[in-house]
Each structure stands twice: as C-alpha cells, then as structure tokens.
C-alpha cells in the first residue's frame, strides 16, 4: 500500500510537471515552429535528455528486466548492444543531414524533409501514412505497459483504467500549453529522476541481497546458464543478428526522435548528444539487466509474463516502502516521457502534414489545432488502451520493424543523388506489404530463411530503391542541387575549400 508520505511525494512530482507546463506556456510563442520545435533552439542537454527520455519506455525497466530474468546476462547485448553504437550513429547519418535541410528550408517533419528532397507529394503522403500507422499502436502499447506497471506497483490500489487516465492526463497538462518545450523540460526533470533513482535502486537491491559479488556468485553457483549466451534459444545467433535491424536502427525513424533532432540549435549540440548517448543507454539498460538477472536468483520460478514483474517484486520483497514510492515515480517518469513525445509527434504530423492538404492554416491556427488534436488523439489512445483491440496490438508487434524498413529510403534520399521518387515510393510500400504478409502469417515462415522478417524486408527496401530508381527517370538537376548542393558545401566533397576555412571570421 502507498502511504500518506507516498501520496504527498507523488503529488509534489505532479505539481512540478504542471508548473513546468504553466511556465512553458508563458515563455512559448504562438507559432508553429515554437510550439512543435521549440523554435529550433534546443541546447545539448535539452536535446540529449529529450532523445534519451523519449526513447526510454516501460519496457526498459519492466520488460527488459523480465527478459534478462529469463535469458540471463545475454539480454544486455541482445537488446541494447548494437543500439549503443548505431543509434547515435544514425543521429549523424540521417539526423545531421536532415537537420541541415530543416534549418535551410524550414522542414519540420519527415514528410516535409523527404517529400521535399524528392519533390513529391506522394512520397510525403506515404511517409505520413506509415509514420501515423506505426506510431499509434506504439503509443497505445506504451500506455498499456505503463498503466499495467503503475497498477501492479500499487498492488491494484490504482486500477488499470485509472492508471491510464492519470498517465495521459498528466502528460497533457504540460504538453497542451507548452508543446515541445514543455515535453523537453519535463524530459530533463524526469530523465534525471529516473536515472538517479534507477542507480540508487540497483545499489539498494544489491545491498539487500548481500552485495554485488555475493549475489553474482550465487548465480554462478545456482544457475551458471545465465552467464552463457549460447544456451538460450531466444537469443540464438540468427535472432541476435536479425534483432540488429529492429529497435536500434528504428530510433531515428520514430517521428518523436526525428523531430527532436531537427529542434537542435546547432550542429555542435547533435555532436555532443551522439557522443554521450551511448553511455546513458548502456547505464540504464545495464541497471535493468542486472536487476532482472539477480531477480532470477532472489525470486526464482517466475515464467512468461510473470517475469515482467520482477522489478516490482524485488522492491516489494527486499526494500522498504519508501522505495515503492520511488519505483512508482520511475515508472511514471519513463512512461510519460515517451507517451507525451509520441502524442505530440502524432499531432504534429497531422497538423503540419495532413491538415494543410485540405485547408491552408496559419502558424497561430496550427498551434490552436495542435492543442485540440492533442486532446482528441489522447482520448482516442485512451479508449484503444482500454479496449485493446487485437488488430492494433498485432500491428504493435512489428511497429519497430515497420519503422526500420523505412530507413533505406531516408538514407538513399540523403546520400544517393540518383534515388528518385518512384524508387522511394516502391521502397516504402513493397517492404511494408511484405512485413505484413510475414507477421500476419500469410506467407510461410521459411520464406524469411530463418531470419526475423525485418531483415529480408530491410534488404528488399534497399534492392527496390536501387532497381526502381535505375529503371525510371533520374531527378532533375535542379532538384538534386536543392539537396546535394547544400551537402557539397558543408561536407566539402572535393576538398576545395581548405583555404577559405582557415580564414578568420572577422576578415
């Protein structure tokens, strides 16, 4: 049970979030760019925490610990190993070039960036449709996961439907008035909170289990299989390899992540984020992995979905009730920091890329519509989270893969001048159709050659982009110049500008 002190602490936490929302609304301008992109003025810490906190979900603390409980220390490398490097690398590979185009041409979303590069409304529409299609289930699953965790950790005192309502309402309280600025400021607060509390929680659990060395030696004695990756079927090499194409490369495709990259003030901010992002991700997933594996020795015998409760169980059984309050705050922080950004991105896409197809709206009207739509989509997401329709949940199962197979088109658009709109359209649609055929069981499993469907779909996206682009007319010189002229200046392709670069600015 949550004590009075707990209720007071959580109420304080909510008041801080509400205060951030109110203050954010006072300093925000009523322009589209300010509301959805914080005026493209985010500094290093803001971008870092925004990307980090938005990418940490209930899975990080709950689901990943449950996975580590089952497969052992190998869960760490399987889930986050490749991400540690490739996710920040995509901030460079895709993020920086998109950021340059965003700064130059005012692009604010993927449909604008890639529709602009290919000079194609159809490419923009396909990006819009696929991003909305995959984001909605991802958002709903985040709400479901967070609400279940919230309900579990309060021993059912707060039922699921109220947990969902609280999580969504609190997210709206600061997102509606302050837009991206509000979500980023709360990300800084919440990201710092859950990082600090997670590390303290690890130390406290280790202490109560006899210390880091003692609990590890117990695992070595009782269940040495937890140390050996080769003994777990779930992380067999072919799955391990395939999983490299699931969550790690999808991150930059998530609209909430892409938008935050575009909102960076300077290139320097993105560089710093790319450098330090691996350390933060490795730390938080490291904590979650250790808690899960230690839990397998401390609370043995959990199977299936029950294993996902290992962190709340560790807190219940081995720590004082104060930790339950802190644990609850961590759950709320990780859940809300991802839900608010997903909701805002969803609204941003509709406001900026769908509404203007029907009606010209001014910048101030875009903010007004953004606020209205936030409420509408939050209500819709809440309803879906309560009903949990099978169709939505089955799409969520491969939403990450869906995002991943869009990456080849994004890279092709930014690096290959010969890529054209026909190739892009085909490479967006064909792999997505194949993913559905595989995941919905319409095509037999052997057609993926033992890999997870995302890998062959990713390869198909590359082949389709290249083949269709070569078989159709190339982009016009003017169109290519619009994008690659910028890159040639920045990246100094021919290394001709050396002299110019060393001249002092004042001259």
């Amino acid at each position: 049970m949550i004590s009075t002190l707990g209720i007071v602490v959580i109420a304080l936490y909510f008041f801080v979030l509400i205060g951030i929302g109110i203050y954010g609304a006072r300093v925000s301008l009523k322009t589209r760019e300010d509301y959805f992109l914080a005026g493209r003025g985010l500094g290093s810490i803001a971008v870092f925490m925004a990307l980090f906190a938005s990418n940490i979900t209930a899975f990080t603390i709950i689901g990943h610990a449950g996975f580590a409980y089952e497969v052992g220390y190998g869960a760490y490398g399987y889930v986050i190993g490749w991400s540690i490097f490739i996710t920040p690398f995509t901030f460079y590979l895709v993020g920086y070039r998109s950021w340059l185009l965003g700064k130059r041409y005012g692009y604010a979303t993927q449909p604008q960036v890639f529709g602009g590069i290919f000079n194609s409304k159809l490419v923009a529409l396909l990006f819009l449709v696929f991003l909305l299609y995959y984001t909605l289930p991802y958002l709903v699953v985040s709400i479901i996961g967070g609400s279940l965790a919230f309900s579990t950790i309060t021993d059912g005192m707060v039922p699921y439907w109220i947990s969902s309502l609280i999580i969504i309402c609190i997210s709206l309280v600061y997102t509606i008035p302050a837009g991206l600025r509000g979500t980023v400021w709360t990300d800084i607060f919440q990201g710092t909170l859950f990082m600090v509390v997670a590390i303290l929680l690890l130390a406290a659990v280790a202490h109560s289990l006899g210390g880091f060395t003692e609990i590890t030696e117990r695992i070595v004695r009782q269940n040495p299989a937890m140390l050996q990756r080769g003994l777990s079927e779930k992380i067999a090499p072919i799955n391990w390899f395939s999983f490299s194409f699931v969550n790690s490369i999808a991150v930059i495709v998530f609209p909430q992540m892409f938008t935050r990259v575009l909102a960076a003030r300077q290139s320097f901010n993105l560089k710093r984020v790319s450098l330090y992002y691996p350390l933060a991700m490795a730390a938080i997933f490291g904590v979650s992995t250790l808690l899960g594996v230690w839990g397998s020795a401390a609370v043995p015998g959990l199977t299936g979905k029950d294993a996902d409760n290992i962190v709340p169980l560790l807190i219940h059984q081995f720590l004082s009730p104060v930790w339950m309050i802190l644990g609850l705050m961590v759950i709320l922080a990780v859940v809300k920091s991802s839900i608010d950004s997903q909701l805002l991105s969803f609204t941003h896409l509709v406001t900026d890329d769908l509404l203007p197809r029907f009606k010209r709206i001014s910048s101030a009207q875009a903010v007004f519509w953004g606020r209205i739509l936030l409420v509408v989509f939050a209500a819709a997401a809440y309803y879906i989270a309560l009903v949990r329709p099978a169709a939505i949940l089955s799409i969520a199962a491969f939403a990450f893969s869906g995002f991943s197979v869009m990456l080849p088109v994004m890279i092709g658009a930014l690096y290959w001048p010969r890529a054209n709109k026909y190739g892009a359209c085909a490479a967006l649609v064909f792999p997505a159709v194949m993913l559905h055929l595989w995941y919905l069981g319409i095509l037999p499993g052997w057609t993926t050659f033992g890999f997870m469907p995302v890998f062959p779909a990713f390869v198909l996206a590359i082949i389709t982009l290249v083949v269709v682009s070569y078989l159709t007319a190339p982009p016009s010189a003017e169109q290519r110049e619009k994008t690659f002229g910028i890159f040639e200046r920045v990246f100094d392709y021919e290394d001709k500008e050396g002299e110019e670069k060393i001249q002092p600015k004042s001259s």
Partner: protein, 85 residues
C-alpha cells in the same frame, strides 16, 4: 583528405562495430573469463567495453566526417515562419 575517403573510413568503423557486436565466436568465453569487478560476467562486461568503444568510434566519426556548416547556409529557416505571421 577527400570526403569520399573519409566516408569510407567511417563505413569501416561502422562495419568493425557491427562485426564486434555479432562476434559469436567470442561467446565461448562467456563461462571462462573471470568476473569483472566481481559482478560482471563476460556477456555483460563485453558490452561495458563496447560502450567505451562506441564513444571512441563516435569521436572518430565526428572528427572525420562531421564538419560544422557555413553560417550563411542556415539563415533562411525562420523565413517561412515569419512569412506566415
């Protein structure tokens, strides 16, 4: 150094990190390498090292192929917004 050469070096860094992540032949060491700091088995400590390598790799990539943009290139972003006011 030509940008294409620099980009090739970046690709090699990425390939190296990918091979290292998928180095299944090292899995045989999981129960042979001693615990790091008394609580990190090889399957875990490998990725602690990998994280440090990722940091170094990103530093190299930034130094090789992430130039700052010319100031005049980035000046027109706000125009679209102000025109709409």
């Amino acid at each position: 150094m030509n940008f294409k050469v620099r980009l090739t070096l970046v690709a090699l860094v990425v390939l190296g990190m990918f091979i290292l992540h998928n180095s299944f032949w090292l899995w045989n060491l999981d129960d042979r390498v001693p615990l790091l700091f008394g609580f990190m088995p090889f399957a875990f400590s490998f990725y602690v090292g990998y994280t440090l390598l990722a940091f170094i790799a990103m530093r190299i990539i930034i130094a090789l192929a992430w130039p700052e943009p010319p100031a005049d290139l980035l000046q027109s972003a706000g125009d679209k917004e102000s025109n709409e006011q």
